[in-house]
Subunit: 328 residues, 2 copies
């Protein structure tokens, strides 16, 4: 009786050896039809699952973990969904973990992903204070950082929108539309938000305005504190909100306080979440290219898994100004 | 030398045996401080990890899988986030899987969750056409269905908003505000959407209107097909959209077509997504109690894991009418 190998089985089934491995290990993606065909051929040939096929099990699980700080944030949800979709076309399943911007949770989820033997981890954003330290004791798991500055750029691939350029474009546009005294509005500061603030500052500099924190930066807390800021700084004529959530909160406050947008105060956001096109007036904002970010992350992950070393690479994805109704 | 048990270690560390087990197996949630303490005590006592502690590893992984059809849907994202939060307080990590309403994906993810040895699975909504068949070969994994009618109610716990009552309340309110000729607007039909349509029909019946599909139900496709429907049925004075996404699409079309909301046409949605409070006019809608749904799911899951049989139970969670500006 011929001794069949996994390659023979794959040939007889007209599928790849990876697919045969997935069926044997009941892991990853394959159709019921493929599954049945492979199992039939295995039975007909009397193929014994050898160590080679088994060893595939311990090495590769066809699963990728994603750490996301807040799945309720529409920008993150969109990005995660696009990554998942792309990974699935490459036969990988995605484990999504919501870390709540909580360091303890992040550690617990990293430990879990390690235990679940994922083939790679994609880390999206997260807390600014804590650098991403990843120490795997089980096997070396490659990881990709999106919008999260790693402690050591040499160990990973870093992918991010060009937040700096996007913020620069947004603020330049406000000046172009007559702004004389723009304010950047923030809440929590992450590494990507920091870049957006830097882009804002650069635009001020280019327009011969000296950045003064008390005058040009507002940490948004409530409608009343916002009203106080406007009273104290009556020349404020434009706001660059570092994300669309903040921008929409500002639109609500401005409406309540009786300000006309964009006639009295112009507003620009960042992210282009679906609601940006729904609010009245519709929000002018900076669109991130989530499809491109997702594609870059998945391509880099596949390279990392296949040991095509890209470590140390950084990808800056261009953004796009979307002009709507909150600017003149 | 005294032979220490896992109980002794737990006592010495002033933590539960479950925590000691988690540290030993490097699974689930614990602080670095706890980890260090447990490892220190193990070293000091010379405790040998016995079969008892090891067996915990094969039986329990402190992970729960969630299948969600579309993480970009704000209602689902909110629900998943709340479940994750509650599970984490109970020391469980959550694996979120986005199934894209795709049967093949759903199967692949169920297989993955089985391979990852999750302790339970929470299935949220999904395709209507395919009943949820779950056959685990590895171990019997308990599962809970939210908004997804199982093929066999005896094998699971079924949790859902009272979609029927919510739709009845919404439509009754339209009648109360003068509607004479309401239309239910749908896109895809899932089991929960079917209940909402049934509630709408019941309200018509209670108001002596005979439901005629061509007159009282619209499958929304585009602005032009919507415009045609209104031309053909000029007495249409109110729309019950089976979800807020559809409601907001209708608001956009009505604005483009020059209709006044609510003066000429009233609109009610369902779900109360964050954008419902942002659109102009603000959307009257039915609020689902996501916190209560999440709590019920997590409690049921803990019972199922602890073999406190609740199989066959059904929980219907009440909804709430939120009156805003799209109704008179």
């Amino acid at each position: 009786m011929k001794q069949y190998s996994i390659k023979d089985i794959a040939k007889l089934c007209n599928v790849s050896t990876a697919t045969v491995s997935r069926v044997i290990n009941n892991n990853g993606r394959f159709s019921e039809k493929t599954r049945q065909k492979v199992l039939d051929v295995i039975e007909q040939t009397g193929y014994k699952i050898d160590n080679n096929a088994r060893s595939l099990r311990t090495n590769i699980t066809f699963t990728i973990g994603i750490l996301v700080p807040d799945i309720k944030n529409p920008f993150f949800a969109d990005l995660v969904q696009k990554i998942e979709e792309l990974l699935f076309t490459k036969n990988y399943s995605t484990i999504i973990c919501n870390t709540d911007k909580n360091e303890q949770k992040e550690k617990a989820y990293l430990r879990m992903l390690e235990n679940k033997k994922v083939d790679g981890i994609i880390v999206i954003s997260g807390s600014y204070q804590h650098g991403f330290k990843f120490q795997s004791s089980l096997k070396e798991i490659p990881y990709i950082c999106i919008d999260r500055e790693p402690e050591n750029f040499h160990n990973t691939v870093f992918i991010s929108s060009n937040h700096y350029q996007g913020a620069l474009d947004a603020t330049n546009y406000l000046f172009q539309k007559g702004a004389k005294s723009p304010v950047v509005v923030v809440k929590k500061v992450s590494s990507s938000i920091k870049s957006r603030i830097d882009g804002f500052k650069e635009s001020l500099k280019n327009h011969s305005l000296k950045f003064a924190k008390s005058r040009h930066e507002l940490k948004l807390q409530s409608q009343s504190s916002f009203a106080k800021f406007l009273q104290k700084n009556p020349s404020t004529d434009s706001l660059f909100a570092v994300d669309d959530g903040i921008a929409m909160e500002l639109l609500k406050y401005l409406k309540n306080l009786g300000y006309q947008v964009p006639q009295q105060i112009q507003v620009v956001g960042f992210d282009d979440v679906p609601a940006a096109n729904i609010v009245t007036p519709k929000l002018t904002t900076i669109q991130q290219n989530t499809r491109k970010i997702a594609q870059t992350a998945v391509t880099s992950m596949m390279h990392a898994i296949n040991k095509q070393n890209e470590k140390g690479s950084q990808f800056l994805i261009p953004t796009k100004l979307i002009i709507r109704e909150t600017t003149k």
